[in-house]
């Protein structure tokens, strides 16, 4: 009797083992098939309509055009001593203009008088975001962490920034504002960001 009971137990145990093994194998196979189908589709790639293809080619050409403009900016900065960056008539009391300085970093120019302008680096000295091209209450404002800078001195007025925004050299000739090539070699890189107090 006792032996028989043991045997029965063993058979039940073995049967449930087989059921679990089947469930595991079936589940794993199902899962792998579903995923493999996606992965194969991914590897073989999309079948695009010609409209989609031409849309993409167009987009690519626009991008190349943009890149070309950027490269021309680079060239201009290597080969000239001053660059037109904005028109005085385009600026108003609060609205300035972001331009790219000789370090290829963003800078911003504002009006600070009837016919005089002031340019400062637009790289926020807090954590390197680009400041807004509009004055807020006559102050330069960085939206990332709400730092305010004085327009005339560049000194931080409120917010987390502690270092002044450096001034950038400009000249104005007949309504046109030119960025002037800084003296010394032009080296572009993070050490040129105004983090290090000038």
């Amino acid at each position: 009797m006792i032996d028989g009971g043991n045997n029965q137990e063993k058979t039940v145990g073995r049967r449930s083992l087989i059921v679990y093994a089947c469930a595991a194998v079936l589940g794993l196979c199902g899962f792998m098939t579903a995923i493999a189908k996606q992965v194969l589709g991914f590897i073989s790639g999309p079948n695009l309509t010609s409209a989609e293809k031409s849309h993409m080619v167009n987009q690519e050409m626009n991008l190349l055009e943009e890149q070309k403009q950027y490269d021309q900016m680079k060239l201009a900065r290597m080969n000239t001593s001053k660059l037109p960056v904005a028109k005085v008539s385009d600026l108003d009391k609060n609205g300035g203009k972001i331009f790219t300085d000789y370090f290829l970093l963003p800078a911003v120019v504002f009006k600070n008088g009837e016919n005089s302008c002031i340019a400062r680096s637009a790289v926020c000295t807090h954590l390197g975001c680009t400041v807004q091209p509009e004055l807020v209450d006559g102050k330069i404002y960085c939206a990332c962490h709400m730092s305010y800078f004085d327009l005339q001195t560049g000194k931080p007025l409120a917010g987390p920034a502690t270092i002044a925004l450096p001034e950038e050299p400009i000249v104005i000739e007949d309504d046109i504002i030119y960025a002037v090539r800084p003296s010394g070699p032009i080296k572009i890189g993070p050490s040129q960001t105004p983090m290090n107090p000038v």
């Binding site: 145990g13 449930s16 083992l17 059921v19 679990y20 093994a21 089947c22 469930a23 595991a24 194998v25 079936l26 589940g27 794993l28 196979c29 199902g30 899962f31 579903a34 995923i35 996606q38 609060n94 609205g95 807004q132 509009e134 004055l135 807020v136 209450d137 404002y141 939206a143 709400m146 305010y148 007025l157 409120a158």
Partner: protein, 202 residues
Amino acid sequence: MRHKSPHLYSPNRIRRVVGGETPPLQFVISRIIIMCAIVTAVLCATPAWCFPPYAKWISKQSKMQVDCSYCHMNSQGPTGSGVGQLGSLSEEQKTKLDTADSPILNSFGQSIIKRLGYQAVVDNVADPAKLADALKSSDLDGDGIADGVEMEHGTLANDPESAPWDLVWKVRLQRNIGFVLAILVSGLLAFVGLIGLSKKLR
């Protein structure tokens, strides 16, 4: 408006705020000033000609950041000489400015003009919710969320990769229900089988 910046970070103030005592008048005032500054910043950052009331309304509704490129080509609005701004247009493009193919608008902006007309945009400036309501019957990007609803949530109506997450997951679940069910059933089956095996094996 003047900021009382030196007080902004004074340790006393921080202790008071964190301690949860009644904030003194000075703190309330500085807080109001900062709020005003933020509002001014938002207003100033929104150039003319891109209907600031709409951008403002969308931002307020959704608490998401919104710029002119919600409807326009350029995120700085139509004034300027950049891509999709008035200064860069050819003579031929300028003739299309008032039509539904306007070169300064993105596909969502164009679809508004196409469906409701330019006048509806001007008329609803005071009550942007009405414009959103009128746009609730179409789904330009096919992400399953109506354009008007996307306006209320501050996500792009012409981009399927931008949609309010708390609504769009249901749509995506419905669209992929077969795959999700297959994964769920086979995953659970495999889990039950494996855990059962690990208990039964000696």
